[in-house]
């Protein structure tokens, strides 16, 4: 029975995933945050780039005599991607949406590794075998022991056909959003903003931003410039295995500008810190999610403000 289970093909799948899992857990020890402390929730560049590439290389080594076509390799790497995200779901407690976001990156780097491996091992070409492994190991160790910090701000602007005084009351707090989700990630189950409440209309007041799954962001108003500027710091946010476990929203802001013609230009700003790398991939997603949170809230404010 075991002989059938541990074929060259299955060994590629099993050992590549086993190595990835061990290194993912081991890297928790080395990864440091911006002040040099251990940051066990931070997921680094190497875990999404070097590891999948190495997984592809391992598969290529075990499959070097299988005579797989390019299409077979692509399909096998797709299976391995699903296997890897399933294991991440079980062993690392990652969320489904987060794994959907990461899967194209994993698949792409696994393919790159598998075809590089095919060129390296497929025709008994021993050149560069050691150097490739050494380069990957150096990149992984250097990256894991480096400090990881990234913060960004997203801004969105909308013109509302109502004076600032009317818009202001809905900026501070607004009733439940009943509109259907438009953004595809919200439709897939990612929590979206549904309501905002405030203890009062004054500086230092507490504010809550409630999400569709019941999660609540606790906020404190730090700038209260009536009809002009509402800035709030996020004081407590849910630690969710989905994307929210990998991003901290630091601060939110609404700026209102009186256009002098009965309309208001509303600007929504959000500052966030990412705990997933590489930035060039995940910031694209973080910006997209933050932007869609802005749009959902700002469209709701617009609708409430423009109602007769």
């Amino acid at each position: 029975m075991f002989k059938n289970l541990f074929t060259q093909k299955s060994l590629g799948f099993i050992l590549s995933n086993a190595l990835a899992l061990v290194l993912m857990l081991a890297s928790r020890i080395f990864i440091r945050d911006n002040i040099g402390l251990s940051a066990s929730t931070t997921l680094i560049f190497s875990e999404f780039v070097v590891l999948p590439f190495a997984m592809g290389l391992i598969c290529a080594w075990f499959w070097r005599k299988e005579g797989l076509s390019s299409m077979d390799i692509l399909k096998h790497m797709l299976i391995n991607t699903f296997l890897a995200i399933f294991l991440s779901l079980i062993a690392l407690g990652e969320g489904v949406i987060c794994l959907i976001i990461v899967s194209p990156l994993l698949w792409c780097f696994m393919i790159a590794g598998a075809f590089t491996g095919k060129a390296l091992f497929g025709y008994n070409n021993q050149n560069l075998n050691v150097s490739v492994v050494a380069i990957l190991a150096i990149i992984f160790i250097t990256d894991a022991s480096s400090i990881h910090q990234y913060e960004n701000m997203v801004a969105d602007v909308m013109v509302i056909k109502a004076p600032p005084a009317k818009v202001w009351q809905y900026v501070v707090a607004y009733k439940r959003i009943e509109e259907k989700e438009k953004y595809w990630l919200f439709k897939m189950g990612m929590p979206s903003p549904v309501q905002s409440t405030a203890d009062g209309y004054y500086l230092g007041a507490g504010r809550k931003c409630i999400f569709s799954n019941g999660y609540t962001f606790d906020e404190k108003i730090v700038t209260y410039d009536e009809n002009r500027n509402l800035t709030f710091d996020i004081t407590k946010q849910p630690r969710d295995p989905e994307i929210m476990g990998h991003i901290d929203i630091l601060r939110g802001q609404f700026l209102l500008k009186d256009n002098g013609d009965g309309t208001t230009t509303l600007t929504g700003n959000s500052w966030y810190r990412l705990y997933v790398f590489p930035v060039w991939y995940y910031d694209m997603w973080a910006e997209s999610v933050t932007r869609n949170v802005h749009i959902r809230v700002m469209e709701h404010i617009k609708k409430l403000s423009e109602a007769k």
Binding site: V49, F53, S69, S70, M71, L74, W107, C108, F109, I111, A112, G113, F115, T116, A119, G122, Y123, N125, N127, I135, I139
Partner: protein, 154 residues
Amino acid sequence: MFGFVIKHFGFLKYVPLAPHVFDAMLKVWTAFSRPHVLGYIDTIEAELMRWQGMRLTIHKYGGIQFNYHGKELGHIHSNGLLDMPLSRKQKHQLMQQHATVQDHHTFKGTGWISLFIKAEGDVQLTMSIFQLAYKTRKAKMSPTNSHYTVPIFV
């Protein structure tokens, strides 16, 4: 798209893994848009690797490169684009005989040619061009060749 990336993001070839990833993305694109092309590339690769002295490496821009005793005979990107260095005379003859053989997509005015492998006929043509390059290179590298030097094709 491919030309745009090569022209404007060519410097990324110096970033470790970048060419490999670029080619992986091309492969995925080809698998969805023209899956048969991947089969053609496999056929060419399998046939060429049967020839004596041939070695397969990863091309600096991604894709597979075929070397004869360490010297490049040509490379194929995963979108089916074949690039080969030939002599200017060989290039001129091939371009006159076959409309699908074109001036290299980047190195204009050199001996380099480009050919998009799209159909079964392109596989045959690719093999015959590789055969031409192989024979030329083999003859030039032969110790009996009194004019033997390190061949420069472009």
